[in-house]
Symmetry: D2
Subunit: 102 residues, 4 copies
């Protein structure tokens, strides 16, 4: 079991120009999963055990199909490290601290 | 001239495990550009005219090379629309509003 | 069980500038999996059942850690469709056919 | 002027499930550009000077808008190096050589 940070972006193809109804349903599933997450304008960053993150992504895709979507393009950017647990909070803090120095 | 939202991620290769010093320098350049941006744990979302966004990304890459980086993997996810101007704020608000409905 | 096409890119961080020894080991694992794949200069496209594809990607990441890599950035671009099975061959043929028409 | 390898993927949103007519038009533009490219089932890898590559991508996006597309999600994965010119051919050969060794 490995902890990861995973940015996920779902693009339902062949649907209306407004993707927000689909993204809102996916976010509800991510919220229910109990995993730590950060929603932003270009995707959603999820932090947690690999298996749980993958399972949550599968649930989102199933939901999109249930909503009538025929084709999905899913992008995952996964950050894995062996030296210590990855943390969204520490990643951001570490950059902001260095920016503040000068 | 087209307005875009562009998520950018720079990965300097062959460097130390800690990438935050590099990301901090890039963020300073993005801040100086005057473009609207949103920094998060898996990248930085920039909103603005395509030409200015691309120019800012070039400056970041030049800076990384100046810092001694030999090889960079840059990821851009670009959101372009013709029906209206893309907006990070509206994208997020639109999803949050739909989540709140239920 | 759903069939997908998944493009995978592994970037071992903090390692030497030459990533080919790492990519070669991952490709051996993908080859042994028996899944259909297409190796190209910017990643590897894998076609198969979602579960098997994810399991193969996990094996590659484990191998990279075994080789001493401390941190990995993995990118997945996943193509899922419900109307019919996705196929790398058909996708390429369909574009080439349309190019040839004019 | 820097030489890059850039993988580009265009996703026209809100269109039909079949994206191949759009991709075929983009490929014609890439072919006319004279840049070296490699088309595969999950994107197109282009090799050339940064400025020319970006200009070619702009032309593709303009073409998609001309074809009536209202919204595009473009993904770029850019490989830049300062120690030597990046080459699609060498990247692939280098991995294949290492795979053959064992």
């Amino acid at each position: 079991m490995k902890k990861v940070i995973c940015e996920v972006t779902f693009i339902p193809l062949g649907e209306s120009l407004s993707l927000s109804p689909y993204i809102a349903e996916c976010l509800k599933i991510i919220e229910k999963s109990g995993l730590k997450y950060e929603f932003h304008s270009m995707g959603t960053n999820i932090e947690g055990e690999w298996d749980e993150v993958i399972k949550t992504i599968e649930k989102c895709q199933d939901k999109l199909f249930e909503m009538g979507v025929k084709r999905i393009s899913t992008n995952l950017k996964i950050s894995l490290r062996q030296d210590r647990e990855p943390s969204m909070e520490r990643k951001e803090a570490s950059v902001k601290e260095k920016m503040a120095k000068e």
